[in-house]
Subunit: 261 residues, 2 copies
């Protein structure tokens, strides 16, 4: 059997991306949840787990719940404070159960965030951390302040009790699917040199901030009821990716609109 | 508070779709998995659970794992054979861990299957069943024969041990997101008969005509020297593809800009 089948090349590209994604569990109470999270990671190809100040270190209950993903548990980094867990990460994303409308602009849904993370981890070969807070109360404001992005998994507003390992499962799944889409695209693209470079997550954020401002200025959106317009456009541009020269056109146009006022 | 806020209308449309989706667990061994599946369902807004010939009926372990989704457990239908669980369903989808290309069925990935299920459950108001097999061995060939579609969740080929409640979680999540996209589209669309399909080449031409006019109006481009701006944006949107609802946002914004003049 050859090692260079298209499937193997794809899988190896995928692994390269997914190993740059670290799951960080902050002050987790139940060791069973650590084990279930390890299993959820491994089944999607993620390997890097960090435990920040866990109530106790992984035990038999963790191993039982990990269902043979014990390698992930055993190689997990255990640190006392969050900063040590993310010091080598270029992108830090915090999970949030809040749907607070006043924060709505900064919160991405799990799908577009998975696309952003995969792009970052594959293109820039940069470490990305996804933070999961306490089972009961999530991440504190201080911890959230260390994140460039917040991600929210859409849930039933009447019952949003998503288990922490299930949240890990969904985000790991989104990362795998997005990384798979990227790996497939780059494998099928003949000519990748002619394109100029992709913009960074910060550039994209800057664009959407600017877009939001203009949309409000021209009364296209009501800031009190933004109707998911920005998240939908984020998804569109996450699908395509945006090159620097394209971003210049899009931003130039926003500036030209503002000059009309 | 009014009951007719856009959010409430959206949520009620969503509930209408999701209540048509039944999770069917066939011959499940561990009652804890039933509880965890109930929680996974409820957090995504699904309510209809059927247990086919379970090794034992939901017990304390199921209740503990359900984390207050006990209503789903208590209202679960328990039947002796699979046919009784799906007799009122127009669409039956079986989950499969196999990636065997020789299988006669058309295997869909979880994302496109979620879209298919949501469309079915919303448009046709038809009951849809998603079948989950035994923890150890999945669905038998006889059970698979009752399905119109098979769905596969992409996993790590070296470790595909996805917990059954996690599989329920991912598919329930995909159904919710697909149903949300459908509900959002129909809520923002004047003409709800159109589906959220990709726009046609004619629609794209119409958009770029409109865009060009606005760009000239706001002095962003000089009609005598348009600098390839439109062709570059055409390339961007060709990469992503544009859905009808996205096109509505983009065109709506152009119209809002024109109203400012």
């Amino acid at each position: 059997m050859s090692n260079n089948t298209p499937e193997n090349v794809l899988e190896s590209t995928l692994q390269g991306t997914l190993q740059n994604i670290r799951i960080v569990m902050v002050h987790t109470s139940h060791t069973g949840n650590m084990g279930a999270a390890a299993r959820a990671m491994k089944v999607m190809g993620l390997t890097d787990l960090a435990l920040v100040n866990p109530k106790s270190t992984p035990d038999d209950q963790a191993v039982a719940m990990s269902s043979n993903a014990t390698d992930i548990l055993h190689s997990a980094t255990i640190v006392d404070n969050l900063k040590d867990a993310i010091s080598d990460c270029q992108l830090v994303v915090g999970t949030s159960a809040r749907q607070d409308r006043t924060l709505a602009w900064d919160i991405q849904d799990s799908r577009s965030c998975g696309e952003l993370i995969a792009k970052h981890a594959s293109t820039n070969k940069a470490k990305v951390a996804i933070l999961f807070g306490r089972e009961s109360s999530g991440l504190t404001n201080e911890e959230l302040a260390l994140c460039q992005h917040l991600v929210h998994i859409p849930t039933n507003p009447d019952y949003s009790s998503l288990n922490i390992a299930s949240a890990v499962q969904i985000l790991a799944y989104e990362c795998r699917l997005a990384a798979l889409a990227l790996a497939t695209t780059s494998a099928t693209k003949e000519n990748s040199k002619e394109e100029d470079e992709w913009v960074t997550a910060d550039d994209l954020d800057g664009y959407f901030e600017h877009l939001k401002k203009v949309m409000i200025d021209i009364n296209f959106i009501d800031p009190k009821n933004p109707r998911y317009l920005i998240p939908r456009l984020r998804r569109l541009y996450a699908r395509s990716g945006i090159s620097r020269s394209e971003m210049n056109i899009l931003r130039g146009m926003l500036t030209a609109i503002q000059k009309q006022k």
